[in-house]
Point group: C2
Chain length 509, copies 2
């Protein structure tokens, strides 16, 4: 290294190390979204969604309140089946905001959903966790808390997530209390509440109220609930009941059809995206019928299968195409989009396949303009596992993608004209003033230790990138500091959790 550069590097390192804890990830995209489909294709898909809603319809099972709301809004209700004249479902969605704030306990972490904004969050729903030392095992509350801490500690995730992993050592009917408590106390980023029953949804909202206050929450969104359609074309009363509770409280409902192509819908990308749109519009319409103007997210989750073996596949070309199309359909629906991608894979280990699948799915998700990304970090084995090492590798790649979404400048300083005048053909640019001015901040820096030269790496035991990631998550947990919280609020939360736990016997299924 040139001496000038070495000196500047020392200064830069010092300032960089001091600045690590305050790194703030970009929250917006500056590059335009990729538009996969043309107008004709988009209209054809929207027409097909209308065809499904008119000719097949959606069933709301065991929820007479929902059925009555749809009947009053002009839909045709026959038993539990609701059908819609073309255009009606879309019209009912039109009162949902295109952009809104999702408030965090620390206002500096408040994000915006919709528009040019991007919100990344960790995996959701895994019953297992794994790390390279202890292997794969059932997730516990400690694991859940660890992932909340890790997510809080990285700048590259904007959102604490929801059921980051299942705390299987806590009774099923009490887990939501510990999970919401962890999100509210160990983190100060936005979070998701429980949706596994209407009562648990209400508990989640009541706990948030202890932190944010009832008055604030009447007018502002501080949490999200994820409502999955029981694809194909069903909402059960757990989901529609929870949806109605979040909507009544004016908190954000993410409506996510979940389609394994070929099983819960036809196997083609065109059918998957049309059905996703149809199912999502119906859920969003119900939110609006419960409370006009309640913020929603057009969610989706879809997977392809190896149709010979039956194995689920992620990051496949068909799934990535569907993700890109869904972003476009969401932009046209005029609500924030959660694309069905993220950093997802069927792989059993954080190996090459895992990162091929995950990276491809993340490009499809982010380049197409999705606003919120579930499963941005940690997700393995088709969602069965949250991997500590993959979490670190994924988070690093979130940094890569967020940096890329900033594009690059084309002003005279970016072109470095002075550097050309200072050097000339065949000269090295390392010690130019232009390089000295910019080299500290020029390029994205990975937080995973470099492998180094092949020789050094071999002497160190040839550690693959997942092996080099182990030290990083341990270091992050060691360095973790809980965000401060008012003592009275903390006491109220703990009292709430204790009281609710004491009010019911343990249930383990």
């Amino acid at each position: 290294m040139q001496p000038e550069l070495r000196k500047a590097a020392r200064r830069g390192r010092a300032s960089r190390q001091a600045a690590v804890s305050t790194t703030v990830a970009p929250r917006t995209r500056k590059v335009r979204p990729y538009t996969l489909l043309d107008e004709a294709a988009l209209v054809a898909i929207e027409d097909q969604a209308d065809w499904i809603l008119q000719n097949i319809g959606v069933e709301f099972r065991g929820d007479q309140v929902a059925l009555d709301l749809f009947a009053a809004a002009g839909a045709n209700v026959d038993g539990e089946r609701v059908t819609f004249e073309p255009g009606l479902a879309r019209k009912l969605c039109s009162t949902a905001p295109s952009e809104f704030k999702l408030h965090a306990r620390n206002p500096a972490n408040t994000v915006t959903l919709g528009g040019d904004n991007v919100v990344l969050m960790p995996g959701y729903g895994s019953p297992f966790v794994s790390d390279l030392e202890k292997g794969r095992r059932y997730a516990t509350l400690e694991d859940f808390q660890n992932f909340v801490k890790l997510t809080y500690s990285t700048p590259w995730l904007h959102h604490s997530g929801g059921t980051v992993c299942e705390p299987t050592d806590v009774p099923v009917n009490k887990r939501h209390l510990d999970m919401v408590l962890a999100h509210l106390t160990l983190s100060a980023k936005p979070f998701m509440g429980s949706v596994t029953s209407p009562e648990r949804s209400q508990d989640s909202i009541d706990m948030a109220r202890l932190v944010f206050g009832a008055e604030f929450m009447e007018k502002n969104v501080v949490m999200q609930g994820n409502i999955n359609a029981n694809s194909p074309l069903i909402y059960d009363d757990t989901m529609s009941g929870s949806l109605r509770i979040y909507a009544a409280e004016n908190q954000c409902v993410c409506v996510s059809p979940a389609i394994f192509a070929g099983a819960m819908g036809p196997l083609s990308p065109a059918a998957v995206v049309a059905q996703t749109l149809a199912e999502a519009m119906v859920g969003i319409a119900l939110v609006q019928l419960v409370r006009t103007g309640c913020p929603v997210v057009f969610g989706s989750f879809h997977s392809t299968m190896n149709l010979k073996s039956g194995a689920l596949t992620f990051g496949s070309p068909e799934a990535n195409l569907a993700s890109m199309a869904i972003s476009q359909l969401g932009h046209r629906l005029g609500v924030p989009v959660r694309s069905g991608g993220g950093q997802i894979s069927a792989s059993n280990a954080p190996d090459g396949q895992a990162m091929q699948d995950s990276t491809g799915a993340m490009w499809a998700t982010l380049l197409s303009g999705a606003h919120q990304v579930w499963h941005s970090a940690g997700w393995l084995e088709g969602g069965l596992v949250m991997s500590y090492e993959k979490f670190i590798m994924d988070v690093d790649h979130c940094g890569v993608m967020l940096t890329m979404l900033q594009g690059f400048g084309v002003d005279e300083e970016a072109f470095g004209r002075d550097a050309y005048l200072e050097t000339g053909p065949g000269q090295n640019f390392l010690s130019t003033q232009h390089t000295l001015r910019h080299f500290i901040t020029a390029n994205f820096q990975s937080d995973i230790p470099e492998a180094g030269s092949f020789e050094t790496w071999s002497e160190n035991g040839s550690p693959t990138s997942d092996q080099r990631a182990t030290a990083r998550w341990k270091q992050m947990l060691t360095n973790y500091k809980a965000p401060p919280m008012d003592e009275n609020v903390l006491a109220a939360l703990n009292e709430f959790v204790a009281r609710r736990k004491a009010s019911m016997p343990d249930e383990w299924y």
Copy 2:
């Protein structure tokens, strides 16, 4: 699996197995390219390229012929330095065709460069190879021949490449003869000749002539030579001399500036792409001055660095942005583009990092509309190594990307309306007639064995994807069959190689 599906699967497997050897990869894109930059940014970069060519210029070292050609064409020549009034270099490039055929020995493998076409090829230039059994070692002619065979055997690469790896067991001055012989006899896909000296370039062309005939080659392109600028802003006489030989013979010249940002040019993406454009235009202009209308490819190779450690990085956000911009600039220049991406990584192993880097770089390359992709398979350790296992994983991902570039249909059959009428809410689509009609061909199929469930996988020793790839390349080499060649042609080629080898003493550096 449903009984109907099982029956259809048996029929499908049989027809699929029979069809394996005749699988033909798509050669065109059906989805539109991603346009990263707007008109103003593109014009600013083009203006900066003109600024460089006017104010700094390019040196042609030791090549008076080239200098005289530029002087006659209106450029300013001062010693070995050539400068251009704004617009002149671009005007000199304008006689290069926007699209042309690159003929293969087997006409079925002939590809088109430019337009909506995509041509993928293996890595280029690695002195080492590695596989999981024998480790990392200097590449030999046997390795070179193996990669030519593997490339010929996969449908997902369209082109045999050039110096796929360095046959280090053959004298430096004779390697080109064995490499071209391998491409011409072990493969029947398009290939690249040698460029390491004007004589070796001529040998490459003379050998091709024995196969394609002088008359055919006068009017048709059957090979490419890759000419690297000695960035910044120099062409040495080896490169410009070889360029002139390919151009004189009307064979395709790929002009590839190679810029490590911060060393061979300023560290910003804007500067890298402007300098790439400037250097490439000068090379392309020289091709046109030697022979008007000679087919060219606007090539590029660029890397970022960790500016603190000096380590090269690949798949970085800055490099991917540059790749996407270069595709756009090439489209505007009106010639086929080789983007600076491909499946490239600095990783020492085919691990998660390798595939994160490679997958991201490949998305940037292909989504932005690059026409030809060097380094689509095998490349590791910043190009030092061709890995047999990574080759297999990369090739598989080429299949993923080529499939994705086909987009998806939105006709009534794709929407599967009959399947909805056959089922209904809550029903499984696996046994619908629509699924039965399409499931054999619906989804991309990986050639790497599936991991299977976690339990099965653990019993099998938890093989990561690179470990599962080993069997695949061995199987491909075992099953490889050389494409037939006329005995007289083969004898002429062997005679040529023997005669040229006998005509010079071995040189080892």
